[in-house]
């Protein structure tokens, strides 16, 4: 097959490209330039957008003897990922930009262009298993990235290759070292690539300006403090609230109301939810019949929890959780899995969380 390898300059995509070459595919490497003002050198362990990262990717491609190009996707990335990220925060939600990038950039804009240019598939270094059209968790539970791929459709998955899902990250680094790739010991990237200093609140403040509002204690309804913008908060957040209520009990963010800019905080017993309503779902295969039992993961690196999935309002889902969960933030994806200890949990689909609630004995609709 003619395969396009998306090469970030990191060790994972380098090994994924190498494995695609080994498998006999006709591979071309592409590095995505996602930022219009690229830094020359990496700053810290974040991102894949510096010229140095492009150089690292090119070095690997040259060693593999495959063509290599840089594709400028900065405009698309800004519109579909960065602007969406800012807008979601402004609306009081907590977006996942990596998931959005997979949905809109890597497996949409890039895949479409690759197909038009005559490629059959896009190979990436994501840690997830993909066989027979079934997307499953990586064997390396600590590095599993199936959550941020949960948004892919059957058509997208049909043109995707994830050769790393069957191995651990340690094995990936071993393969890179065996092949003499300089990126074998390159640090993993963390956080959000377009916020290289890791200061999300500072980034949003620059984008959105100061939008002060009250911090309200849920138990008393009293205003217990002020904040500079609701975008500085995520549901479930405990640190950095900047208030002292006086009873020594930790407070959590319970809710964010963007119009009145009210951030509601409360004690742990108020922070749990066990019912989630979502926007319209996407499915990785044929849509399952509702209702069904599944496991749901509510944020990247979150622990899965058993659930019952039924139809909700406006084409969305209603997900009843077996156990109460804290930190369920609107805007995050609820990714549904079909447990499978042997072959890896299968990703069924996902839907963006809209609201969450605590059932009082019976299910409320």
């Amino acid at each position: 097959m003619r395969v396009l390898a998306a090469m970030s300059g990191g060790v994972d995509s380098a090994v994924a490209a190498a494995l695609a070459v080994d498998a006999g595919h006709d591979v071309t490497g592409v590095h995505l330039a996602l930022s219009p003002d690229r830094q020359t050198l990496r700053s810290g362990a974040r991102g894949c957008c510096s010229v140095e990262d492009a150089h690292d990717a090119r070095r690997v491609a040259d060693e593999l003897g495959i063509p290599f190009y840089v594709w400028d996707m900065a405009d698309r990335f800004r519109e579909d990922v960065v602007d969406d990220f800012v807008a979601e925060y402004a609306a009081g939600r907590t977006p996942n930009p990596c998931l959005r990038c997979n949905e809109k950039i890597k497996f949409s804009a890039v895949l479409d262009r690759a197909r038009a240019l005559g490629f059959d598939a896009v190979v990436t270094g994501h840690h997830a298993r993909l066989a027979d059209g079934e997307l499953r968790r990586s064997v390396d539970a600590g590095k599993d990235q199936s959550y941020v791929l949960g948004v892919l459709t059957p058509e997208q998955l049909a043109s995707a290759m994830f050769p790393l899902g069957g191995m651990t990250k340690d094995r990936v680094r071993e393969i890179a070292a065996e092949r003499g790739f300089a990126v074998a010991t390159k640090a993993d990237s963390h956080d959000i690539c377009f916020i290289p200093d890791g200061d999300t609140r500072g980034f949003l403040t620059r984008k959105l300006g100061s939008r002060p509002g009250p911090l309200v204690d849920a138990a008393t309804g009293a205003t217990v403090g002020e904040h500079d913008g609701t975008y500085g908060f995520t549901v479930g957040q405990r640190r950095g609230l900047g208030v002292s209520v006086g009873d020594q009990q930790p407070r959590y963010v319970l809710g964010i109301e963007p119009v009145t800019r009210t951030v509601t905080i409360g004690t742990a017993d108020l922070a749990g939810v066990d019912q989630i309503s979502t926007a319209a779902p996407t499915w990785t295969a044929e849509a399952p019949a509702l209702p069904f039992r599944a496991q749901v993961q509510l944020r990247a690196h979150g622990a899965p929890v058993g659930c019952e999935v039924t139809g909700g309002d406006d084409g969305g889902l209603l997900i009843g959780l077996d156990e109460v969960q804290r930190g369920v933030a609107a805007g995050q994806s609820a990714v549904l899995y079909e447990p499978d200890a042997e072959r890896g949990d299968r990703v069924v689909g996902q839907a963006a969380i809209r609201t969450s609630a605590r059932r009082q004995g019976t299910v409320r609709r």
């Binding site: 492009a54 063509p67 840089v70 400028d72 405009d75 804009a109 479409d112 262009r113 038009a116």
Partner: protein
Amino acid sequence: MTHPQPVYLDHAATTPVLPEVLAAMTEQLGRVGNASSLHASGRSARRAAEQARERLAEALGARPSEVLFTGGGTESDNLAVKGLFWARRQADPRRRRIVVSPAEHHAVLDSVEWLATHEGAEVTWLRVEPSGRVTPQALAEALGDGSDVAVASVMWANNEIGTVSDIAELAATAHDVGVPLHTDAVQAVGQVLVDFGATGVDALTMTGHKLGGPMGAGALLLRRDAECTPLLHGGGQERDVRSGTLDVAAIVGLGVATVATVQGRVERAAALADLRDRLVTGVMEQVPDAQLNGAPLDDVVRSGPGRLPGNAHLSFPGAEGDALLMLLDAKGIECSTGSACSAGVARPSHVLLAVGAEADRARSSLRFSLGHTSTEADVDALLGVIAPVVERARRAGMGRR
């Protein structure tokens, strides 16, 4: 996927080393000797370098003392633009203005912009004809009475679209108001008649690897009366304007390449122009809405070609240059888009933007450049694939925002 024997249509980027250059350099590389040393080995190295200087000077209508060996075109451009600016401003602090074409190579443009940012230079951008040519009228208007101008710079032939300007006329225009003119002749040497002395320019950039010489070796031809402040300080090897141990083997190679290329110019230029016309005509037949950028194929300047004989620069509306390049590369055909930044991100050509092209047209262009190894088979290989490649690139371009 890489073609076993690529069809090389990128001679303006670099061209294969001539066999006689390889032989001369190999011989010289086997010898010891610093051309600045006083003993026999040093004298021998010095002799080889000076012979190269004399031959290069003769081939380009310069005196040997006007040849300063440098590390290549970029260094020569930097030295000329910054060195002339500094020296002229030193002599008269009112001279802070630089008059330059926006279609110059980045070695000139970025030097000028550096001077503007760090040295208080003021930049006057020259009006450029849609063909890419700078006219004497445009230069005269920009210079005014010239009293506040430190230096003017206009390239002899454009590296992207191949347009030749009348450098002799431009030099005369600059001299009318007492301003020195630098010209980047990196692409012109060997393709059109370049006579430094007859043209009257004050400084001329040339480099070896566009002529079948080695990379990393070039020259600045600098008139004896031109004051130029050094960039590189040290041993003062090159007229105290450029320091650094002479790379004798590279200089020997540069000399051999320049002499050979200039001597064979008339014959080769005619052959290249025929091939180039065949390429452009053929592409136009295959892709009827393709557009030729730069001067017409039969354009004439000062009784010589108005367009480099080896240059074909075409836009393919609706297709993106980087997609075209990739698809051609996959078929073993090597060409280039406009300028690439250090990260390899394709940007719309600043040259096409400077001559007034729309960004889409600038983004959809490819440069095919022919050289001493080019054949009809090379051109035919391109013509055999260009139509489906453009068709495919157009499909890939749809849906992009």
